[in-house]
């Protein structure tokens, strides 16, 4: 099972771009990379998913280098409401045995 490693916490200010990097050195060929956001007293919420290169949606971008051993979640111009825990997961699309393991996540604190 591919294990992920993320920084425990990060600090930022409103309006800045935030990049959170996740290491997954033993990612398998069929694994996708998925990021979730969790606010206190809520369940995690899907942000973005990718396999290689770059994926962008209305809230974030995901950068994946050619070796796929890491990935970076980029949040443009963060606001106070982006303060949350961010989780990186790897798993095989359609994989019946995948456990979708969450790590401890990265606590992002955005200050005024």
């Amino acid at each position: 099972l591919a294990k992920t490693t993320q920084p425990i916490s990060m600090d930022s200010y409103e309006g800045q771009e935030v990049n959170i990097t996740c290491s997954h050195n033993n990612i398998a060929t069929n694994d996708y990379i998925t990021w979730y956001q969790q606010f206190p007293s809520q369940g995690p919420r899907f942000i973005i998913q990718g396999y290689k290169t770059k994926v962008t949606n209305e809230v974030a971008s995901l950068f994946i280098p050619a070796d796929r051993k890491s990935s970076t979640l980029s949040l443009p111009r963060v606001s106070l409401s982006d303060t949350a825990v961010y989780y990186c997961l790897v798993g095989e699309k359609g994989g019946a045995t995948n456990k979708l393991i969450f790590g401890t996540g990265t606590l992002l604190a955005v200050q005024p």
Partner: protein, 114 residues
Amino acid sequence: EAGVVQSPRYKIIEKKQPVAFWCNPISGHNTLYWYRQNLGQGPELLIRYENEEAVDDSQLPKDRFSAERLKGVDSTLKIQPAELGDSAVYLCASSLDPGTGPLHFGDGTRLSIL
């Protein structure tokens, strides 16, 4: 679309008592997951269902935990008897894709054992 619905939101019981949590997944999602989240930790998978079949329950403490998903829709997770260490948030999630999701989570049930 309606999200994953869990109840109750909070539950306080004394140790050795039984407790049950209920989950209604998003309509059409065949895959259902139960996770447990301890304070300051990420969610930990307890069991995964494909329709009504439990395809991965390797992390479920079977001596006191049980789960069912009758008719492949709603699911119930039960603990009997509850222990102090079971205090946590119990999250239910569902997905269309059994591999990578994305997972759609409910807001969980916060269980406190006295």
